[in-house]
C-alpha cells in the first residue's frame, strides 16, 4: 500500500478533478491518494467524485485557503 501525492495548488476548474481521477486510475487497491489544492469548488466536488466512484473519503482539511483531501482506493 503506497501513498500518492497530487499537488493542484493554483490550478483551476477542471484540473484538480482530472488530476485526482488520473491518480485514482493509476493507484492500486488500498492505496492512499492525497490531493492538495486551492480551487474552492474542487474542495466540494472531489468528495462528490470520490462518492460516485465508490471510494473512501478518509479526510478533508483546510488551512489558510489550501485544502487537503485524502482518499483511499
Amino acid at each position: 500500500m503506497s501513498k500518492i501525492k497530487v499537488d493542484c495548488c493554483g490550478e483551476t476548474c477542471p484540473i484538480p478533478l482530472i488530476e485526482t481521477r488520473k491518480a485514482i486510475r493509476k493507484a492500486s487497491l488500498g492505496d492512499i491518494i492525497e490531493v492538495r489544492g486551492t480551487h474552492q469548488a474542487s474542495k466540494k466536488e472531489i468528495p462528490m467524485a470520490v462518492k460516485a466512484l465508490g471510494l473512501k473519503l478518509v479526510d478533508t482539511k483546510e488551512e489558510g485557503g489550501e485544502w487537503t483531501i485524502t482518499i483511499q482506493k
Partner: protein
Amino acid sequence: MAEKLTIVVHSGDMDKIYSTLIIANGALSMGMEASLFFTFWGLQRLQRESLEKGPLSKMHMLGIGKSMIKQRMNKANVSSLERLMHDFKELGGKIIACDMTMEIMGIKKEDLREDLITEYGAVGTYIQEARESTINLFI
C-alpha cells in the same frame, strides 16, 4: 456498465470547445464514460493544428476579443484545449468524427488528427451512443 455522457460538438468556437472538453473531462473524472461526436464546424477543430484556432462565439472582433479573453484565461491559469484534450483521451474518452461532414467539407482522414479519433461514423453511430447515455448535449 458506467453511466455515459454524449455531446454533439457542432460548434467550432473556441469557448464552446472549452465547454465541451470541461464537461466531458468532468464526466470522466466522476466515473462516467464520455463520447464526443464532432460534426460541422466542430469537426474543423480536429484538423491538424486547429484545436485552439476557433473564433470566440461572441465579440470575436476579428480576433481582438479572442486575444483579450485568452489573456484573462492565462491570468486565471485556465489550461489549454490541448491539455484538456490530452486528459480526455488519457481518461478513456471517445471521439467520433462525422464522415458526412468530411465529405461536404472535403476533409480527408489524413487532414485530421487521427491519433485522437476513436472511430468515423454517421447519425446511427451517434444514436447508438446517445440512447445509452444519461446526459446528452448539443454544443
